[in-house]
Symmetry: C2
Subunit: 435 residues, 2 copies
């Protein structure tokens, strides 16, 4: 029986989960993979002492180059995160002909082209299951399970922190800031949660998913990004009264060879499965021409779910090595594809939730409706929210399907009206089941 | 660029979907798989003329042996269904060293051991993604995506016909028979739907899933099976009033190395994701030690979803051939496993919904409650359903978690009481999120 040696670089949260599973489940893995996975090195700048299990003697090191240079090691796991030194280490490992497993979505989003080109050149795998969706094997599902499908829609909840915050706001009536504090208290938000809240983490993940599904390179600047910090308790409640929930979605849709990729808080009808994905859970909805609608749901982060994804990549690399060591398939199958262009955000069409904050006097509604009408925005419903003894009232409207650029034009004009007292809140809706 | 030749045996619904996708998507598949998949043969006893597309000249045949004997063909797709001649054809193909892709769950359930042993002996894949969950890549998810997990729970809705019937009964107030007729009208039930309705189709699929997850051979007789035909409109309504839906579940759970495998209609709390899987959709809930709870949702049957699954197996076999042609991993990794025994159904513990049909007179409730108490069945709630001007009334109870054998013993005694006018209905409940 062959042994396949693995080196793990990074011994933080995820690295510890990977190391523990490799040490604690050798027989399970050997039975399922068909070869023995031997942990040869665990590397970190300052090797912490693991709690709850014991590292075998002689495998800890503080020198990543030693791990990469070891000719016996065939699989390198990079779980240090960040751009450097991760990028250089991954490139060096690839150049030495080693398969690399990474959970580093920022690295892939910023340097993916360079790294995948290097992996293809050197005939090795650069595997990244853990970069999106935590323990949900969404990369494998897209690349292998749905290989025969032309995907036209991906809609996902891929940032657990954002989803937790909006879920708490809805369930407990908390404000955004109270909910963020709560997330930090439970360890669901990092000390600096800005990447999660401003939508950039979700955009990194969307880029990876959409690139796989549509075969076209996607840069961060191709993605429209809006964070969740502008979502207010009032909007959550009004949406609720109309039968909707506000979820932090990533969306990629193709129509007539044009692709739209966007990240923003979105209204979803309560009955949709995605609307019922709460707390730190993630889910990805995919519509393919053969399979129709599918949804994949699970924990999107955390030590063990992420370790599960990393080990599935290690197992795939090990099977590959055992069967002859050629790279299994183009890693990111970009190349000839049917996408002609990205849809500009202004062209995107959705239904809109709008909340106007106006002085309650005759003629106000007519003026607003008039501007909307002239901007080709037709209304599905109008809800005048009355507040006793208040001269300033919210007016909530739901539009039909309208063009983003028309909405922006209308809101610019409406927000200049003297009786409009606050910038109008506008949140897009999504009906994934309609495709 | 290598060509890999494929022979499709069976040109019915699924075969047609597979053939059409192979003919219509050669470039997509080549880009994603890395090799060209060439359709060499399409075989059926009486070759029907396909509608909507044209078969290339020279690939139709009525002789399956010709397909199997063709030395150029490396992958055989068996989509004729049934036991014979499917079994003999699959065995012959394996013996000739060809990878086999099948959608035939009955064949796997009845002859899986023989077929997988032959595949292992001859170093070929026997792939079966399409046998469970239609287009959901659940086999790949279990075998590869969750490779590092000790799974302790699988709960699934894997029979679309049953799920459609129960969904129609709930949504439209139909009786079981009206709903079955409706399913037939829409093509969601076969002319002879007994395998779907009596739970046997679901049990075949559960055997496949549980075998993969727990690594233990499972025969049909190890599975407790109850169909859906006894579910009445009244029970659906009472369950609804108490916050539950009745779903056709397959359940496999391990606890202390003992496995329970069962198929029966089950109450689920409405808020659970599985309770919201309606119509012909399938879903599989999995709980693993690393990933926690996951759910996979999609169309469980139909020409195109099934073809999607078959082609993902073809693609995997093609990648394997391209990379050196050894079998990728033990196909059904049975062997040393931690399951010591199957739990007998009598030992299974769940909460129970019970509906008694009794004459409405003083003391009746006390008698029933007394028997339940002496059989160690404690009650969570009692709902007396009043029907005006009727002496015979339903009494609905929800128990705490109790042992199946105690329930059976109690109901045998209760159903013998003179004021009990119909056999008591008892339906198990399930709370998948509690693990």
């Amino acid at each position: 029986m062959k042994h396949i040696q693995v080196g793990v670089i990074g011994f933080g949260t995820v690295g510890t989960g990977v190391v523990r599973a490799l040490l604690e489940k050798p027989r399970l893995l050997q039975r399922r993979v068909g070869t023995r996975l031997a942990l040869r090195w665990v590397c970190d700048r300052d090797m912490p002492r693991p709690s709850g299990f014991r590292l075998p003697a002689g495998i800890a090191t503080i020198d990543p180059q030693r791990v990469i240079d070891d000719p016996e090691v065939q699989i390198i796991v990079e779980v240090i995160g960040g751009i450097e030194p991760a990028r250089t280490l991954v490139l060096n490992a690839i150049k030495r002909g080693k398969h690399v497993v990474t959970a580093n979505k920022a690295l892939l989003a910023e340097h993916g082209q360079e790294l995948f080109a290097a992996a293809n050149k050197h005939g090795v795998q650069l595997a990244f299951e853990a970069s999106v969706g935590g323990g949900i094997p969404i990369i494998k599902i897209l690349r292998e399970g749905l290989v025969a499908n032309d995907v036209d829609t991906i809609i996902g909840i891929v940032n657990g922190t954002s989803n937790y915050i909006l879920s708490q706001m809805r369930d407990k009536g908390m404000s955004f800031h109270e909910s963020l504090l709560e997330a930090k208290r439970h360890g669901y938000a990092e000390r600096n949660p800005s990447l999660d809240i401003n939508g950039n983490d979700a955009a990194h993940k969307l880029a990876i998913l959409a690139q796989l599904a549509f075969g076209v390179p996607i840069r961060q600047k191709d993605i429209y990004i809006e964070g969740i910090s502008s979502v207010s308790q009032a909007d959550i409640q009004y949406a609720n009264e109309m039968g909707y929930r506000i979820k932090p979605l990533v969306i990629a849709k193709e129509e007539n060879s044009r692709l739209e990729v966007r990240v923003h808080p979105t209204l979803l009808e309560k009955k949709h499965l995605l609307a019922n994905v709460s707390g730190v859970y993630n889910a990805v909805y995919i519509h393919g021409d053969l399979v129709g609608s599918q949804l994949f749901y699970g924990r999107g982060a955390g030590q063990n779910p992420t370790a599960s994804a990393v080990i599935s990549d290690i197992a795939d690399a090990a099977r590959l090595i055992a069967s002859g060591n050629s790279s299994r398939n183009p890693i990111v199958p970009t190349g000839p594809h049917r996408i002609r262009s990205f849809k500009r955000m202004g062209e995107v069409q959705t239904r809109y939730y709008m909340r106007f904050t106006v002085i309650d006097k005759p003629g106000v509604l007519a003026r607003i409706a008039g501007i909307l009408g002239r901007c080709r925005i037709s209304l599905a419903s109008v809800h005048q929210k009355e507040r006793k003894a208040a001269r300033i009232v919210p007016v909530v409207m739901m539009t039909d399907e309208v063009k983003e650029s028309d909405v922006r034009r209308a809101l610019r004009r409406i927000d200049r009206l003297p009786f409009v007292k606050q910038p109008t809140v506008a949140i897009r809706t999504e009906e994934p089941s309609s495709r």
